[in-house]
């Protein structure tokens, strides 16, 4: 590129009128071997920014981030067991709905009362029998 052209671009650069592309052209020029001694300090400035662009974080950063965002196998296990629990619970509730829990055994209330009294009598008699040796 012509030296005259570079001088114009530099002028625009200091006035903040250059585009990103023009600034790339300047950087390109100052990277080259034809920079006159009087522009040596500008070469330093552009090469400083170049250097800054090469700065990178330490090696392990990417792995550390990936480690944090990757879904963990353990966690998947927990999800599966949670899902399994829900399936089992649903199964049980459906099963229970199908089997009635209370069934009437007697149609006649009198008969039912007699049966209950008999059962209670048997129970109390057995209880008394059981208590007897303790006295």
């Amino acid at each position: 590129m012509e030296r005259e052209q570079i001088a114009q671009l530099l002028e625009k650069y200091w006035q903040v009128e250059t585009t990103v592309e023009e600034e790339k052209m300047l950087a390109e020029y100052f990277r080259g071997p034809d920079v006159p001694a009087e522009w040596e300090m500008y070469r330093e400035i552009f090469s400083f920014y170049e250097q800054e662009r090469k700065v990178k974080p330490g090696e392990g950063l990417e792995e550390r981030i990936m480690e944090r965002v990757r879904p963990r196998p353990k966690l998947w296990g927990a999800w599966w067991s949670a899902a399994a629990c829900i399936v089992v619970a649903l199964g049980i509730s459906v099963y229970q709905r199908d089997t009635p829990t209370i069934k009437d055994t007697y149609d006649d209330p009198q008969q039912a009362l007699a049966a209950v009294q008999k059962a209670l009598l048997v129970a109390s008699r057995n209880m008394n029998k059981g208590l007897h040796p303790l006295k």
Partner: protein, 160 residues
Amino acid sequence: MKDKLYRLALRLLLNGHDAEDVVQDVMIRLWSRREEWGQWQSLEAYCMTAVKNSCLDRLRRRQLPSVGEERAQDVNSHDKDPHEKMIAKETFMQIRKCMDELPQNQQLVMQLREVEGFSYNEIAEVMGISLDQVKVNLFRARNAIKKSIIQTESSWKENR
């Protein structure tokens, strides 16, 4: 993208370890909001803004008196960063010193423009300032660097 985020954080925090922390936080937050990515205009601008805000938060916390002393050492440890060792050249050190001493907004504009090559519009978006303010900051910063390096060069010539 993570390199750009890291460089921005490093420019503000002057500490490689803290800068990595900030980048990690921002990337993880970004991941947790991945359903919303489609709604954002520019993922990069969003992340740069997040890094900038996160760094400014940290800088404010550094200034709290309770942690002041410990944090001050952190800032000084900037000199020990690996990339710092590479740049032994005196002019580079002069430019860096000048950059570090610029007001924060000028530093940010310089980092985004000179190092990352962002457009004026992108810089305005990341920093939440107007186009005119971007240009004013860039004008002042560029000329401050120029002035400082011209001074250094001429003082060298006098010494020889």
